[in-house]
């Protein structure tokens, strides 16, 4: 399967999971009366995180813009998701450079995954960018720092849940044997 087709299918699939399932499940920790605010984990940044290593930054920015805007259209929040997504699309390469042992050009034709990055760098990569995305998004959405504890709690809970979902996705959809063969070759 060509890399373009694969990514388009992944984009649609992740978007559908996000919009049709996750947006409907508003999670809530603890119950009344010191209840915790409801929150939604956003896993669609995973699509940006799983683009091939060599994607040029300009292309990544445009893809991030389109991806963010499509989520925005569903959520009636024109621009907010797009803003956060473009931000992580821009900083992805810096995070990758910092975490990868080899130069990024050595990974031609591969996408970031557990098998070629290792568990710990991959989790750091995912959680750093997802926390960045959630922090930006929730700050823009709330647009006031008067209730900063609430904002921080929301960011923390939401991104922790999102990272869990992302790891579940990665465990489900990584072809372990296939990638091992790729590594030997």
């Amino acid at each position: 399967m060509s890399i373009y087709l694969k990514n388009i299918i992944r984009f649609v699939f992740i978007l559908l999971i996000q919009v049709l399932i996750l947006n409907k499940i508003t999670l809530q920790w603890w119950s009344q009366p010191t209840g915790f605010p409801v929150f939604i984990p956003y896993i669609y940044p995973l699509f940006i995180l799983l683009l091939p290593f060599e994607t040029p930054v300009a292309a990544m920015l445009l893809i991030g813009f389109v991806c963010g805007l499509s989520v925005d259209a569903f959520m009636n929040t024109a621009g907010m998701h797009a803003f956060a997504t473009i931000l992580i699309a821009y900083f992805r390469i810096n995070v990758l450079n910092a975490l990868l042992p080899k130069n990024i050009s050595d990974y031609s034709g591969q996408t970031p995954s557990v098998t070629n990055m290792g568990w710990i760098p991959f989790v750091i990569y995912v959680s750093f960018l997802i926390v960045m995305h959630h922090a930006t998004f929730f700050t823009i959405e709330l647009w006031s720092l008067s209730n900063i504890g609430y904002l921080l709690l929301k960011i923390l809970a939401s991104s922790a849940t999102a990272v869990l979902f992302v790891l579940a996705y990665v465990l489900l959809f990584t072809n372990q044997r296939g990638s091992e063969r790729q590594r030997i070759v």
Binding site: F65, A73, M75, T77, G79, F83
Partner: protein
């Protein structure tokens, strides 16, 4: 010039990044003025029909709950109806319905409001500004700024419409203040603090006003809502001694997590009233 081109080539990514972010900020700014951009909303045909399909799937699981809510609404309406049909059984031997048409004390009231029923195909409660998408649009007479109420209470206001769908901003949003009235006539504003989908707050109520837990809070004619729609019920009263004010915490009358059917309320007099009010400015 050459330096300029070199500069652009060197920082092209950064410039593109900044350009896209600026576009996003403009988009955010436009929606925050409540005018909104109509393309970017879930009233859009493609998105709404997708939501509708998802909703169809979940529809059967909620039938029992819906039955209950319809029964309750029927009961409530029947009780209201008896109020209009009260007959003095002691003196009236025929048991005929008493009409008040000839009563000189009759209050003149126009039938201002027309109700359109609609099914909720998508709703959110987790965001700072929450939206509801319904399956009625311009073709069914739904227009911008109409009120949306549920069987049990106030819901929100229509902000985007397409041919067959519309999206409404619910009272669970920071952009939306609702004019509210206590039982004794005190008028104030109900706001949502943005944290829990079943809590509303009514602030700046003078301290001398007597309220109790369990009192109802209704909408007023001042807003886009029809008057006397239940907004919520007081469950906690907080007194700010330094300002001589009370803060009332309300439970929403509508359960926003499980909202399924709503009524879009068309105000026949709205246009005339808005024109008149525009002249005052």
């Amino acid at each position: 010039m050459r330096n300029f081109i070199l500069f652009i080539r060197r920082f092209s990514n950064l410039l593109l990044f900044l350009l896209l972010e600026v576009i996003c900020i403009v988009l955010i700014g436009r929606t925050n003025t409540m005018q909104g951009n109509d393309i970017m909303s879930s009233a859009n045909y493609t998105l709404a029909s997708m939501y509708e399909q998802r909703d169809d799937m979940a529809y059967y699981f909620a039938l029992r709950r819906m039955n209950d809510s319809l029964m309750n609404e029927n009961l409530r309406l029947r009780q209201q109806l008896t109020a209009y049909r009260q007959v003095d059984t002691l003196t009236d031997s025929t048991g005929k319905v008493v009409t008040y048409n000839k009563d000189s004390q009759r209050v003149v009231k126009y039938a201002d409001y027309v109700y359109h029923s609609a099914k909720v195909i998508n709703n959110t409660v987790g965001a700072v500004n929450n939206f509801i998408t319904i399956n009625r649009g311009e073709a069914d007479g739904v227009k911008k700024d109409m009120a949306v109420v549920s069987a049990s209470g106030a819901v929100g206001r229509i902000i985007h419409t397409s041919k067959h769908y519309a999206s409404a901003i619910s009272i669970l949003s920071k952009k939306q203040q609702v004019s509210a009235r206590l039982k004794d006539g005190t008028v104030g504003h109900v706001i949502w603090k943005g944290q829990r989908p079943d809590e509303l707050t009514m602030r700046d109520v003078p301290e001398q006003i007597k309220v109790k837990k369990g009192d109802s809070v209704f909408t007023t004619e001042f807003s886009f809502f029809p008057p006397d729609v239940l907004i919520g019920v007081i469950y906690k009263i907080e007194t700010v001694k330094s300002k001589n004010l009370k803060i009332l915490h309300l439970r929403t009358a509508t359960n926003f997590r499980r909202i399924q059917y709503v009524y879009v309320v068309e105000n026949k007099m709205a246009e005339e009233r808005l024109q008149l009010e525009a002249q005052n400015k």
